[in-house]
Amino acid sequence: MLRRLTRWAVAAPVALALVSGLSACGSDEPGTSASASPAASSASSSALTVFAAASLTETFTELGKTFEAANPGVKVTFNFGSSATLAQQITQGAPADVFAAASPATMKTVTDASMAAAPTTFVRNKLEIAVPPDNPAKVDELKDLTDSKVKVALCAEQVPCGAAAIKALDAAGLKVTPVTLEQDVKATLTKVELGEVDAALVYKTDVLSAGGKVTGIDFPEADKAINDYPIAPLTKAPAPDLAKKFVDLVLSQQGKDVLVKAGFEAA
């Protein structure tokens, strides 16, 4: 949650700068009667808004910089959050160009509303057991989480990481009673980072992005619950050309390299 707050704190000034930049554009040409419309059209072609799952924060921010470098004058703005929330914002008419979701189900909400066509799976993410570096409960396999003395955090089943966790546990035939069902994967990870729980099921990429603050443990049953990440340009995108270009970048070898380095598996 803290992460998300700081993200907003970063995003707000960016958005403000964008708005004030645009109004400055308009006031530069006070003589022309049609000053508003060129400003508006230049705004639509020089700003790209990407709605992406929280787990893509680090990789997409990096790709956004690459995109800006390759397209001078273009400003990429991100809205990172829970895929389900983003999907709802899009169907309610939020002005976004690209949607990258952490699950096919959340993307389906958007395609069902005819807001996006033909999503492409661009990466896959696998679960890992995350434990504090000193691993106080001595967890080393999935079965250890069933011990009632081990405090476990899972994502709520309504969010993709929670659905994946249930799938993995079912595949292993295990029953885990967590102490909490968190609202998103970053909140789940935070509980491990603070040492409030002994273990949690989160994505491998989240473990990597936490640096040394948590330790990740692979488990074989994770193969049964691999999460596909679909991406699609949106049909009502204010900047359709840029949207397509950004999706191409994510699907390119360059995009793949960035994502794989962060722990994703190539689709």
Binding site: L5, A156, V179, E182
Partner: protein
């Protein structure tokens, strides 16, 4: 007048939005789900206990701030309002850092008494009381400052003990302030979300209060979220209206 109407519309329209979008046809079956009633019960119980905790700790604190002059009183008064300006999520993190398993106080609580507050119903009460207490303290302190000291002095000169003065004179004088503070406190505790989900987590039947249930329902089933919101709203308005009638008749 116009501004008053705009003000009212601003407060009431979102409620109208909920009513318009509510899925009336599926309402009964959605309300019958055991998780819904469990969350409602938990919300009412924890908000009430949190209000009781706030009364026990908050009234003496308000009295101290209003009646006792000590160095640093203004600073303390400012510190009391911290939970009001702190984003609740940050409040939750702060609570974890103090009362969590590895927190300053929590570490000691666990090793000495085996008590761990995060992820328990008691943790929900702690989070709610932390966020709601300033409402009570500010309101009671205001009442205490407005109460005329001469009544208390007169009672004292007539031979009443300090306890009798407090119970028979001060309390009736500031009762409206205490009631108003308690109502605000209860309402704030009932709607508490950020500090609760951060400090106490989310588990049905143990720490999942209505606002948490609403938030998670919104992820997959916006209709269910609307039903839950309306239920919470209806129950809280009914309780507050019922209480008000009682005070009005008894006063």
């Amino acid at each position: 007048m116009v501004l008053a109407v705009v003000g009212m519309a601003f407060l009431v329209l979102p409620l109208a939005g909920l009513l318009v979008r509510a899925p009336w046809s599926t309402m009964p079956e959605r309300l019958a789900e055991p998780q819904v009633l469990e969350a409602l019960r938990l919300s009412l119980v924890t908000a009430t206990i949190a209000t009781a905790v706030c009364l026990v700790l908050g009234v003496p604190l308000a009295w101290l701030l209003a009646r006792v002059s000590f160095p640093g009183r203004r600073l303390v008064r400012a510190l009391v309002t911290i939970p009001l300006v702190l984003p609740p999520v940050v409040g939750g993190v702060a609570l974890l850092l103090v009362l969590g398993r590895r927190g300053l106080v929590g570490q000691w609580l666990e090793s000495a008494f085996g008590i761990s507050l995060p992820f328990t119903t008691a943790g929900v009460v702690v989070a709610e009381a932390f966020v709601a207490m300033p409402f009570l303290v500010i309101s009671v302190e205001g009442a205490l400052r407005a109460a005329d000291l001469r009544y208390e002095e007169a009672a004292a000169t007539l031979g009443a003990s300090r306890w009798v003065v407090f119970r028979r004179v001060t309390m009736p004088l500031i009762a409206p302030g205490i009631v108003a503070g308690a109502v605000l406190c209860w309402a704030r505790a009932l709607g508490e979300f950020g500090a609760t989900i951060t400090f106490a987590g989310n588990f049905p039947g143990r720490t999942q209060t209505m606002p948490l249930a609403v938030y998670l329902a919104l992820e997959t089933e916006p209709d269910a979220a609307i039903v839950l919101s309306l239920l919470l709203l209806l129950v809280s308005v009914a309780i507050l209206a019922g209480l008000r009638d009682r005070w009005v008749t008894s006063a």
